[in-house]
């Protein structure tokens, strides 16, 4: 592939309280693409994202971002490099206003945030209407928009989304997927972790299937949608959690 690799994981192993959750993962995320990581509960997907974000320390293996080794760096340094995590379950700050949430997203930036706040508001007009509302009073979908908007405020090159569809109504999930596509068109590379494999593979350029800490299959989104093994394991039962 001619494109540059933005993120590269080399043989990454992570243990959680004595249990090895991630057992040697190799994964690349090319610049400007949507890459998805699908798999069942407990396959280690979230752990991978948390490790990249610096919230969890890996046992062995390397993480490269734009060919710089970022393994074991502190979370704030990783955000400064241009990687932002949208955590599982949205995790907006409930007693801060929507605007304050966005400002926290740009916490590490020294320059003026106003232009980017406007940009997020044009992406999500709903947030502009609710600018002064406490984030905890927003609906689930709006909170997810806010979580994405907040992540965009750090001007990331790579956004990692952990289960953005979790706990949302199917119609809202479709909205969120459209948002992901829009954000990607704005030039942000996306690493998407999803249980809703069907939807994720439809919007992704490339996909990895994660099974109990290993990558079992990989391929382009369209190819994985057609793959018999993937179909049987994840797509047929995609709704069942």
């Amino acid at each position: 592939m001619a494109k540059n690799n933005l993120l590269r994981l080399e043989n990454l192993c992570v243990s959680y309280g004595g249990i090895r959750a991630v057992k040697g993962i190799n994964l690349t995320v090319p610049e400007g693409e949507i890459v998805t990581l699908i798999g069942a509960n407990g396959a280690g997907k979230s752990t991978i994202l948390r490790t990249i974000a610096g919230l969890v320390k890996p046992e062995s293996g390397k993480i490269y971002f734009k060919d710089n080794d970022i393994t074991c760096k502190a979370p704030n340094l990783i955000v400064e490099q241009g990687i932002t995590l949208v955590p599982e379950g949205r995790r907006v700050f409930p007693d801060l206003t929507v605007l304050e949430n966005l400002k926290i997203g740009g916490y590490l930036r020294k320059d003026n945030l106003d232009a980017d706040i406007e940009w997020v508001y044009t992406l999500f007009p709903r947030l502009k209407e609710r600018s002064w509302q406490m984030a905890g009073t927003l609906s689930g979908g709006e909170q997810q928009m806010l979580a994405v908007g907040r992540a965009l405020m750090s001007k990331p090159k790579l956004i990692m989304m952990d289960e953005p569809s979790l706990g949302l109504a199917p119609i809202i999930v479709q909205d969120i997927m459209n948002i992901i596509k829009t954000v990607n068109k704005e030039g942000v590379t996306i690493l998407l972790v999803e249980q809703n494999a069907n939807l994720a593979l439809k919007i992704a350029h490339y996909g990895y299937v994660c099974e109990t800490g290993h990558i079992s299959t990989e391929g382009s989104g369209a190819a994985l949608l057609e793959d018999e093994a993937v179909k049987a394991a994840y797509l047929g039962k995609a709704r069942k959690k």
């Binding site: 704030n76 955000v79 995590l85 995790r91 700050f93 007693d95 801060l96 926290i104 750090s154």
Partner: protein, 373 residues
Amino acid sequence: MSKIRKSIYTAILAVIIIALMFFLEANKFRFGMAYTVIQKGLILSVVAVSMNLVTGFTGLFSLGQAGFMAIGAYVTAIFLIPADGMAEVYYISGVNPSIMSFKYWLESGPAWVQSMYPILALILGGLVAAVFAAIIGFPVLRLKSDYLAIATLGFSEIVRAIISSPQLDTITNGSYGLKKIPGFDSLFETFAIMAVCVLLMVLLLRSTYGRAFRAIREDEVAAEAMGINLSRHKQMSFIIGSFFSAVSGGMLAMFMRSIDSKTFSVSLTYDILLIVVIGGIGSVTGSVIASLLVTASKEWWLRFFDAPLYIGNFQVPLFRTGFRMVIFSVILLLVVLFYQRGIMGKNEFSWDRLSLRVRKLLGGRKRGAKNAR
């Protein structure tokens, strides 16, 4: 409400406060109780706001306030007691010679510098406490919620024990305490120091740091994922909070004129916690209002519960010394059960909110009157 109107109201309020202080200053013997209560309330509001900064805004449940106040109080007191009064204060074990020479050096300074000594003493006390906070914060701030509370509570008791230990007799006068501490010249001085301290903390809370503190309170993991350095910000909040607790402790020493280690027992921390809870966890104005209200009711308005009460010839059995604290505890219990958000909740005072409240109250009454007809 228009901006002009709001600033007019604010100006009126400021004038009322200043006029009230002038009045009390002029009649401090006739209204001694009000004078004392307001002064103590102002002093406690500094530590209440600092506890709110740490507990209410950053979400670190710290119960070490009394310890930091003790540090501030002792540093301030040793700094300020006049050199020729030292021998009388330390009459049992004598004064440490280096402290004595330090005091003579202090008193040889020019007069205008000497007039700044109370402020310098308070700042020095704050800085010493901040150093202690930095040292204990490093291991202790890794703990979460209740464990942090227990650890800081332990620290506060250790400080108290060390201060009253015989080994420090020549410095802290051990368990005999310190007296002859010069007090405030006027109510204005107390008010000015309190206002500056609270203003500094409000400015901090309104800055991006303040926003980061609140983000940590709301969700540590999300805050960390946004690139906020958790340990650095917690440490910062804890150190600044301890600094102002110590300033308040120093002010308390100047207010009480004599202190000993028992002044700074755990119950002092609980009193402050009470003020913070009644005022509203996460509201600066709430803490200030509550420290005045709580001090007033504890020392003044509820006093009559302590005096024997006769109805005709019958003496009501419960009214005796100490009963006021029972009533006070019952009030606290009721607040915690039914009024958890306290006076202000997480909001700050604003004229808009006040006018809304008043209008609601008046509107409610009018409707009530119609129904009665």
